[in-house]
Assembly symmetry: C2
């Protein structure tokens, strides 16, 4: 199907081509783009052609091998048109026509899908802005025709694509393919990623999405693509308002943005916030060799803009290191004495072609990449400077980005730079930002563990479910017995049911969720290899004293009641109990707190001191399924906002990376004279937790908070588990 | 002097005007800009004129009222030229010539200053790119001549100014004045701020600085200017590398960036990071009425770009609120059914002139500002849409920003928008970012307390010093006695000296700094109205037990030694001591820790529990003098990075604002079931601390950490004070 879509032998435009009609503009665009008129046909009831292209009353009558149909007929007719196309041997269709799910016409879109399923024809759209393959002179789109090149753009939004293509034309960024897929009734971002990963004409993929469906499949395709080439992604709907806006115009449910952020990063994709950034990074990726490190040098002919670029470079993670004494000496051998030899290197307004060339050649022996800034006064001819930069870029083989400005004054020099393959950015700040992302991509690509880990993550579902068969039999059943117990209390003892019926009951009664009591939960965690402290339960003050003695003072005592979820907020947790009397007093206090509620006694633990507290959590994202969270624990979870997410599961290495990414990592590793925490045990815990939702699909949410990180080992101090029973699969 | 500089009756260009010379280009620029040739003169030894402007061998011979000289003679001649100009009655000079302090020629620059002092002539430069007054057709600069308007740009860097002016011409941003002041040997940013604050032709000030001198004077001028008009500031050198770069090209000492950030904000200035932002914000400020709130509506004709703008709007602090049901109803009465009535409001690609006009008019009754997005396909004529937007902006009187794109397709519509006073931004994201800063400025300007507070802050120095006379006599003298004591130990008893001589001794011996012991420090804090817990000192275990009993158990005990600065890191702090035995054991342990060092016994406090810990600090910035800091205390200071700075002193209101700006504010106010802390007492403490460096100029640094915030009152748990004795004034 891909050749039919992108390199069709012949194309049929289906719809009216009267002047002023959409079809007319599309036809003109295709002709202007250079597609041979002889391989174009127009199809509409009257068999009316236009612009020298023959018209036919039906696709079947066109004759010859029509691979692709471009459809602009009214929405109501589209399914039938597709059907007819398929029958005539057309293998792919681009449906420009709008008026489907985006305006509530879900049935119409389903009808398209039905034709696809039945006939095998593949569809881009509906409600899309068309496609482009510059290397096949194929332009069935209303957007600007860009120059040919190696960036391929996949955009859910046609308008976003249109802006990007117009900029591409304006600034000479070469495009390979453009696909606007609109509602994505059939083919969607995932399919295009899979195709572009292998497409030899595509070096860089730019992706604009507002939402994805089948999140894990999308991530797998994305991870596979980033192994081959950089993927720059805008995921719109970062904020509440933006998310609402995507809902209103696509009618879909979007996942939490922080999960998207984690997932995209996990896949090695480069997320950007704005179209300008996306454009800059694509420009960098197509024009520059790999940036193999973060040491950047700025060569400028004026101080101020050099400082602004240096500031930005450091802020985006590059190192604007000083030149070595040896390098400085070599520079001073040929540069005039008024030049600044720090980084940025300031050639001053007297900088020449040879000055730029030789300086860049010299410094690039020591740096990973360079930015050549030229802030041209009106009287200066910048073309020689551009020549110096081009020569240095070519001879050094290293990445050299230019920022020649301001625009109108340097237009000719910029044209020359572009023709010679040196990308020019709007400002030095934007140039260094692009270099930083190139360096980031290079680091990700060279981390050979990453791809393996990714495939493991996104391929793990079936394996985990398989291995779970043996493992869950004992502990899950016991866990479920607990749940059943709870359910019976309210469900008035429907006891004879099978497990399936029981779950249905629980689901019904508990409004699709169930909360477990702490002693059951702790026991279950322990059985599943999660380290918990020893504990005892007690139903009376005497039992509590006996348990505390057995445990050894001091102890911690907490109330147990299915009706008290947030124990510490009602005073249901007593720390550091030192003797029998205090135990009795504590028991009385907790019983009083639970008065009038379903009091099930207390749970007693040893009192753990001097540990650092962290949080390990799980939740289920609507798009991506289970997500594991790690961050600062206790009251600092909210305060710090220092939580790192990953789409689950993660292995130990990835878990260790999560720990390192938090701001509290330094504290855990033993800053300020504290004993270092057992980070290996912590990584083990995170990895183990991240597997649980695959063993137990009923887990909707789990919080282990606090987790005590000790010099040796870790212990879960408190846990909250929410189960949810539904017939939908976990992913 | 200002009229001489900006509205000179006649201008003399001093220097060579041979073709290809700097002077030639300057002369041509002035003539091209429309300055009457009859009011121009050229001065050089040969009396050679050019381009129809008469030449003279000396300024004196020009005759007539030459107010301004523009000097391009070699650096060595500049002082003499200035002298001659002054003698001839010239009152202001712009020295374009480079080769002064920026290349190490400090003497040359001092010679200029000497002429200024002696003759009263005022100088812009040297090493500058000239000045502009569009309203007087005055263009003695090599940069682009911008259109006339109301933005005035003050830039230390000529190149930065050049880029800005070129963009101004390209995008039609009107400029009133441009001043590049280069090395600022005489007039500097402060003088220009004072002038522009009162200049009726200037509505918006854009300021690019790399460093300032006399920080407090600068802040006073800045605060006075922001009371009248918005000041958009780029302070370059935000990062280490950037700071190094400013050093290398201006040879000055830069203060910490976070202090600049706080100080600029305190003055009501709007700091931006990039020249593009500065440009956008100036465009917004000049073209739009005040933005009186943060509710923004986005009216678009395509979904994707609308979402991107909505995301960005929320991120920069605007509210993309949904329209009310009533408003939605009014919209649905006239908009076609396929339009999206959420915010962003999507008119779809079928949006018309009347659609934009009426929608904007309707929604602006409910919102504070609007962005009109038009993503034009190539076949669409955008001029009618621009007309709709212009009409709505005019009729509503509310701020309406446009983002018509992509560039080449909408060029004519953008020209129309500009002519009609509606600013057009490169993208919707950049439009909302500009609106956000307008809203911010409006809020600052309407907070009538701000300006009063600012003047108080930056004018407080003398008052504080006056009132300090009475207050310090007792406590400071006692404090100094302690210092003297320390100094004597090492200075071998030079006892007969006067206070001044003593300080010199201390300074010498202690290498310009001295550290105080905790008991002395706590006593001194208490005498100065800083709340500290009760405490006792003890030199033996028996004394310690007596002190602890008097205090009441449990207590805290800390080692006292001038050689142990970081007590807790060596185990020198024991918390929660419960009885006599524990006191004895603790004393022994602390004595052991201090073994071999200068052990001065222990200090004993009551043990304070369940308090929240914060930090209040003071330090002295090289540019701005005393700075007060507030943030999370204990081990979280570094972890959180949650510290807010202000140039000292601050009053209670400002201190309360500091507390509110931290992330921990919610916790202090009593989140998660905790008792709320006494925020009034905390604000009092911050304000009082912020006054101390004015009472005691010897204070170099002070850390109160932790400060315990209790439900009633606050208490300083530990303190560190570093004194520094120098002859330089505190500010």
């Amino acid at each position: 199907m891909w050749p039919a879509l992108f390199t069709p032998r012949a194309v049929a435009l289906v719809g009216s081509v009267g002047e002023g009609k959409l079809g007319y503009y599309l036809l003109r665009q295709m002709l202007d783009g250079g597609f041979p008129p002889a391989r174009l046909a127009v199809v509409n009831p009257k068999g009316q052609g236009a612009l020298g292209v023959a018209g036919y009353p039906s696709v079947a009558e066109v004759g010859g091998p029509v691979d692709l149909a471009v459809i602009v007929t009214p929405a109501a007719t589209v399914p039938a048109v597709l059907e007819e196309c398929a029958r005539a041997g057309v293998r792919a269709a681009v449906v420009i026509t709008a008026g489907f799910s985006e305006v509530g016409n879900v049935a119409g879109e389903e009808a398209i899908r039905e034709v696809v399923r039945r006939t095998g024809i593949r569809v881009v759209g509906p409600n899309c802005a068309g496609i482009v393959n510059t290397h096949h002179a194929l332009f069935p789109t209303l957007e600007t025709r860009p120059p040919a090149g190696s960036v391929s753009l996949v955009a859910q939004s046609g308008a976003v694509g249109g802006v990007f293509l117009a900029w591409a034309k304006e600034h000479g960024l070469g495009i390979a393919k453009f696909i606007s897929y609109g509602n994505g009734a059939d083919l969607n971002e995932r399919d295009f990623l899979e195709y572009l990963a292998e497409d030899p004409e595509t070096q860089v993929v730019a992706l604009y999405i507002e939402e994805v469906t089948e999140g894990r499949e999308f991530l797998r395709a994305l991870a596979a693509c980033t192994r081959h080439k950089p993927v720059v992604v805008i995921k719109a709907g970062r904020t509440e308002a933006g998310r609402r806006a995507t809902l209103s115009h696509t009618g879909s449910m979007a996942g939490a943005d922080s999960v998207y952020d984690a997932a995209l990063r996990q896949c090695g994709a480069l997320r950007v916030a704005s179209l300008e950034e996306m454009f800059d990074f694509c420009l960098g990726f197509t024009a520059l060799p790999p940036v193999r490190g973060r040491r950047v040098v700025i060569v400028t002919n004026s101080g101020g803009p050099g400082v602004l670029a240096a500031d930005r470079a450091e802020e985006v993670g590059l190192t604007v290191a000083e030149p070595s004494p040896a390098l400085r000496e070599r520079l001073s051998a040929f540069l005039p004495p008024h030049c600044g030899l720090s980084n940025p290197i300031d050639l001053t307004v007297e900088g020449t072609e040879e000055g730029y060339r030789r300086t860049l050649m010299t410094v690039l022996e020591e740096y990973d990449a360079a930015v050549a800034l030229n802030i041209a006064p009106a009287y200066l001819d910048s073309v020689p400077l551009a020549r110096g930069v081009v020569q240095a870029a070519r001879e050094s083989g290293k990445p050299v980005a230019a920022a020649f400005l301001p625009g109108p004054i340097v237009a000719e020099a910029v044209r020359y730079l572009r023709e010679q393959g040196v990308p020019n950015f709007a400002t030095g700040e934007r140039a260094v930002a692009a270099l930083a992302r190139l360096a980031e991509y290079d680091a990700v690509r060279r981390d050979s563990a990453s791809p393996r880990r990714l495939l493991q993550t996104f391929g793990v579902r079936h394996e985990a479910q398989r291995s779970a068969v043996g493992r869950d039999s004992a502990s899950l059943r016991r866990l479920l017995r607990t749940v059943r117990h709870e359910a019976q209390r309210s469900a008035v003892g429907r006891d004879s049911a099978s497990l399936r019926r029981l779950l249905r009951t629980v689901r019904h009664e508990a409004q699709r969720s169930a909360v477990l009591l702490e002693p059951d939960l702790m026991a279950w965690l322990r059985e599943n290899g999660i380290p918990v402290p020893p504990f005892r339960t007690a139903g009376s003050a005497d039992e509590a004293v006996a348990a505390a003695r057995e445990m050894g003072y001091p102890v911690v005592m907490k109330v147990v009641s299915p009706q008290i979820l947030h124990k510490s907020e009602v005073g249901g947790v007593i720390l550091g109990i030192g003797d029998d009397d205090a135990v009795r007093a504590g028991f009385a206090r907790l019983a009083e707190i639970a008065a009038g509620r379903d009091f099930r006694g207390v749970i007693i633990y040893p009192f753990i001191r001097d540990a650092q507290e962290v949080l390990v959590g799980l939740f289920r994202d609507p798009q991506f399924g289970p997500v594991v969270a790690f961050g600062a624990g206790g009251i600092y979870t909210e305060l710090l906002g220092d939580v790192v997410l990953r789409v689950a599961p993660v292995d130990r290495d990835e878990a260790a990376a999560m720990i390192r990414e938090t701001r509290m990592a330094a504290l855990l590793a033993g800053a300020r004279g504290r004993p270092p925490g057992d980070l290996d045990a912590l990584a083990d815990l995170i990895a183990r937790v991240s597997e649980l939702p695959f063993l137990y699909p009923e887990i909707a949410e789990m919080d282990l908070n606090p987790v005590f990180v000790l010099p040796r080992g870790v212990l879960v101090g408190d846990a909250r588990l929410i189960l949810r029973f539904s017939d939908s699969p976990i992913l």
